[in-house]
């Protein structure tokens, strides 16, 4: 019989190793899934993990890695701050949508005027949109003690409806022949979040993601606020005695994650996607939850995890077109990853002992 014994200290080695073990286990379980779907499992796994990086057309896919990874990292960094303190913002998808709407709205308000200050204004209003949307669960939690998980999630569905109404109404392209969706910001120079080096995939969102990683690292390791976040997560009662103000922490964590999610939405709508449309959002806000956990809620870990998750997106696309692998299979694959990660986390906090329990 296998018995669990709590470790006095979480194992650092296992904490680093579990994400790798989880990825391996997911590859095996995913391979089985692909086999059930009638695809060659080895071929599928190779297509997902190898093709985008080193395959024949890797020169085309590598920039995509940055494009897909940046929003995931940006959102996950924000989420991780709250998750560390036990503040669960699950509504990043809604904040992402609102950031995109505010950002795009600001840009379209100037159309067709060209000026250098339009893009910075869009960045600010995108961040503001996400922040504003996150302030709703934050203020309700601070003021009334409302559950932030449920409120932030409900707001995702509200934001989706709002997005639909905007792309059919206020932001609809007047020259769009009646089709829903806004003007394409890629064709509006002052508002376009173009590649900084053409064809590299390196747009302002990637820069912002890297800055966020550094900023979060410094905050968590060198700043009082970061210390308070960590303390609240590990020992809430002790944190109270140490003078941590929970309300301020809630406002900060939700605000920061909303802001980053809003920025991600804004960079996406003004760059790779280009257009506000009804189904503009593709679930980055939810996938970022997996990224945050896979990265161990650590900024550098999140950077790596974001890259990995971007890889599964791109590899999944390739597998879809080359092998006819259904797109939902990748979603299942990503979900499995989180499962295995949570399961193997057991090894971080517990020792497995074989044998019968001793009778005390």
């Amino acid at each position: 019989m296998i018995r669990l014994e709590k470790r006095p200290q979480p194992s650092r080695a296992w904490s680093m190793a579990t994400p790798l073990v989880a990825v391996l286990a997911t590859m095996i379980a995913g391979g089985l899934l692909f086999a059930i779907l009638g695809k060659n499992p080895v071929e599928a796994i190779r297509t997902i993990f190898w093709e985008p990086l080193f395959g024949e057309f890797a020169f085309y896919y590598r920039p995509q890695l940055l494009v897909k990874g940046a929003p995931l990292v940006l959102i996950a960094i924000g989420l991780s701050l709250g998750f560390r303190a036990g503040i669960w913002n699950i509504g990043a998808e809604g904040q992402y949508i609102m950031g995109a709407l505010f950002g795009a709205g600001m840009g379209l308000a100037f159309y067709p005027h060209e000026a250098w200050y339009i893009f910075p204004l869009m960045v600010i209003s995108g961040a503001f949109g996400g922040w504003l949307w996150a302030m709703i669960p934050a203020l309700l939690k601070v003021r009334f003690g409302t559950n932030e998980i449920l409120v932030s999630l409900m707001l995702v569905y509200v934001a989706e409806q709002f997005l639909a109404s905007m792309s059919l109404g206020l932001l609809k392209n007047p020259e769009g022949f009646g089709f829903p969706g806004s003007r394409n910001l890629q064709q509006y120079e002052s508002a376009h979040n173009a590649d900084l080096i053409a064809g590299s995939g390196m747009h302002w969102g990637v820069v912002a993601a890297l800055i966020a990683v550094i900023f979060a690292y410094v905050l968590l390791n060198r700043h009082m606020l970061g210390y308070q976040i960590r303390l609240t997560g590990e020992a809430p009662r002790a944190a109270r005695f140490a003078g941590v103000k929970p309300a301020r922490l809630i406002l900060f964590c939700l605000g920061a994650s909303g802001m980053l999610a809003g920025l991600a939405g804004m960079f996406e709508v003004s760059g790779p996607s280009g257009q506000v449309s009804i189904d503009f959002n593709v679930g980055y806000g939810f996938t970022a939850i997996i990224v945050a956990f896979l990265g161990r809620l650590h900024p550098v870990g999140i950077l790596l995890a974001g890259g990995l998750m971007a890889l599964t997106y791109i590899g999944g696309d390739i597998a879809q077109s080359n092998m006819g692998l259904p797109s939902a299979a990748i979603q299942v694959f990503q979900g499995m990853l989180l499962f295995f990660l949570l399961a193997f986390d057991l090894l971080t906090n517990f020792r497995l002992r074989l044998g019968k329990p001793e009778v005390a």
Partner: protein
């Protein structure tokens, strides 16, 4: 706009149909939470139940069999949650989320060949005379069997929790797992059983959406109903009959909103469609002041070592 086109009798009857998936999922989650476990995977279990039930009903021609399979599928998915939280000691919030993310993907994968198909219809129970009564007939009589099953389930859960030894043990585990363990109750086993029950209820709730309420399969068709069910448990202060009340309230909002859309009210459709979610938030705010009735060990993991 023509509000006179809205028939109040039909409104109430369809409100009961709209409320049933919520009611089933919420009463299951109530039992889970009473045992001290917070399973945020309701949405995932519902959508898997929705496609499992739908596929079974289409293949076998029997909607009732669909509901059975949906319950099994929901319980099977919740087993994963049980393993993660009860044996691997994983964080309940994170595990529940992963269940939802996984369930949404899995259901999309399973449902690919079922888009655009009509499922076999569930027969309404037609009792001569009673069903033909004006007003009362269509409201109280003449629904499908699952709707009545949902209401009976509420009554059963209420009775079990309030009057039986099983209910007492379940509540003890949810209030103080250490004390329950010291008394010799198998905390983990009881919690796992509660989680399975919750999964089965959520699965049936999902199948009710795909087989009766909407009768078709579309990806992500639960559209947050699982999350509203979670909110409903808070709304009900963990009391079964208030789950019924809450579900009918939310069902009412949904149906009125749809009726207003159909009647062509001057409010844009998107804003009407937002309303159930907004009202959920408002209700949460009003009721969150009172947390006294929440099970004391809710969301805390139990490990029997010292």
């Amino acid at each position: 706009m023509d509000l006179s086109a809205i028939n109040p009798v039909l409104l109430v009857a369809s409100l009961m149909v709209a409320a049933t998936p919520l009611l089933l999922a919420a009463v299951g989650e109530l039992v889970v939470e009473k045992a001290g476990v917070l399973n945020l995977g309701v949405e995932g279990m519902m959508i898997v139940g929705a496609i499992a039930g739908f596929a079974t009903a289409v293949e076998s021609g029997s909607p009732l069999l669909g509901f059975v399979v949906a319950a099994v599928a929901g319980a099977a998915l919740s087993t994963l949650f049980a393993i993660l939280t009860q044996f691997a000691q994983a964080n309940q919030v994170a595990s529940g989320l992963s269940l939802t993310l996984f369930g949404l993907g899995l259901s999309a994968l399973m449902g690919q060949s079922y888009v655009g198909i009509k499922p076999p219809q569930m027969q309404d129970i037609h009792i001569p005379l009673l069903s033909d009564l004006p007003v009362v007939g269509p409201i109280i009589f003449g629904h499908d069997i699952i709707l009545y099953f949902g209401i009976a389930l509420i009554a059963a859960v209420w009775m079990v929790l309030k009057y039986t030894r099983v209910g007492l043990i379940l509540r003890a585990v949810g209030e103080n797992h250490d004390a329950a363990h010291a008394l010799g109750y198998k905390v983990l086993r009881i919690r796992v059983l509660a989680i399975l029950f919750g999964g089965a209820c959520a699965g049936m709730g999902g199948a009710y959406i795909s087989l009766i309420r909407v009768p078709q399969w579309t990806e992500g068709m639960t559209a947050g109903i699982g999350w509203i069910a979670l909110a409903l448990v808070v709304f009900a202060s963990w009391k079964p009959w208030r789950v019924l009340l809450g579900a009918y309230l939310f069902g009412g909002v949904t149906v009125v909103q749809l009726n207003l859309q159909a009647a062509g009210v001057a409010i844009p459709v998107e804003y009407l469609a937002m309303s159930p979610y907004l009202i959920t938030i408002v209700v949460l705010v009003i009721l969150s002041a009172d947390k006294s009735s929440a099970p004391a060990a809710l969301g805390r993991n139990f490990h029997a070592s010292r």
